[in-house]
Point group: C2
Chain length 136, copies 2
DNA sequence: GTAAATGCAAAGAATTTGCTAGCCC
DNA sequence: GGGCTAGCAAATTCTTTGCATTTAC
């Protein structure tokens, strides 16, 4: 039997994958749209978005963004690392020293001038762990 | 003489700061808006956004998000770290090993169940460094 | 044949901006 | 009083969704 949510190979989906695999530039959805449209002028932006979501849900590509698309603000302007809960979406500060040496490491990798870095951990926060043994 | 872009202390701005300082929950702009509105029913969402931007530009608060608010996609689904250029906005993969041990460190800090982590470096990329000695 | 995917357009959510009036210094 | 700000609403930007039609398997 076919698994639920079986993914078909459509030419649109193949074209999107090919575009993504043909670049190392981490493009935006719109850039992918423009590229795919060169071969397939009638493709719609909705299709691009739907496929990008499907592909990342299936682990074929990776989306570089927050789950939610809005900013959060923090009155503690000092640099610190965060933990973001996949279950409730909360953001907590971590009591963990800033590893400045990581920036030097990156500067040695190439001609990068590193100004700052950001480290986030994702998973299940303490209060969500408490409430249920099986997460939804 | 007053510096250009001098920041006034308005009661709206004070209220926003007070709301942010009164929570550790890293609220969204809309949450701040709802809170400020309790005291100041006529405040507008535009004012909230303008002030959050001003405050973070002046280093009084911190915005937890990308500069741009759209996603980028990557066909390389393996985990890796990124460098994001403040000048041209490009995103590059870094050839740097994943530090899995960081997740264990966080799990020891509390009852966190860490699923994944993300590390990004921000600064000036090699090609922007080349083009100009003084960045715009 | 049927469920899944497409195209198109309209709706949504988050954020920004233009403009006039008002308030801070 | 001059310029930074507020309020308000309209505009932008990015993304999602509804629906009839088409397509993959």
């Amino acid at each position: 039997m076919k698994p639920k949510g079986f993914v078909r190979r459509t030419k649109q989906r193949e074209a999107i994958l090919q575009v993504l695999r043909g670049t190392t530039s981490h493009p935006t959805a719109d850039w992918v749209y423009q590229e795919v449209r060169k071969e397939m002028p009638h493709v719609s932006l909705g299709t691009i978005y739907r496929n990008l979501r499907t592909l990342s849900e299936h682990g074929e590509i990776r989306e570089l963004a927050y789950g939610s698309h809005h900013s959060r603000f923090d009155a503690n302007a000092d640099s610190h690392y965060h933990f973001i809960c996949d279950s409730c979406g909360c953001v907590e500060d971590l009591d963990m020293p800033i590893m400045q040496e990581l920036e030097e490491k990156v500067e040695k990798l190439g001609d990068y001038q590193v100004v700052t870095h950001r480290l986030e951990f994702h998973g299940i926060c303490p209060s969500c762990s408490d409430e249920t043994s099986d997460q939804h």
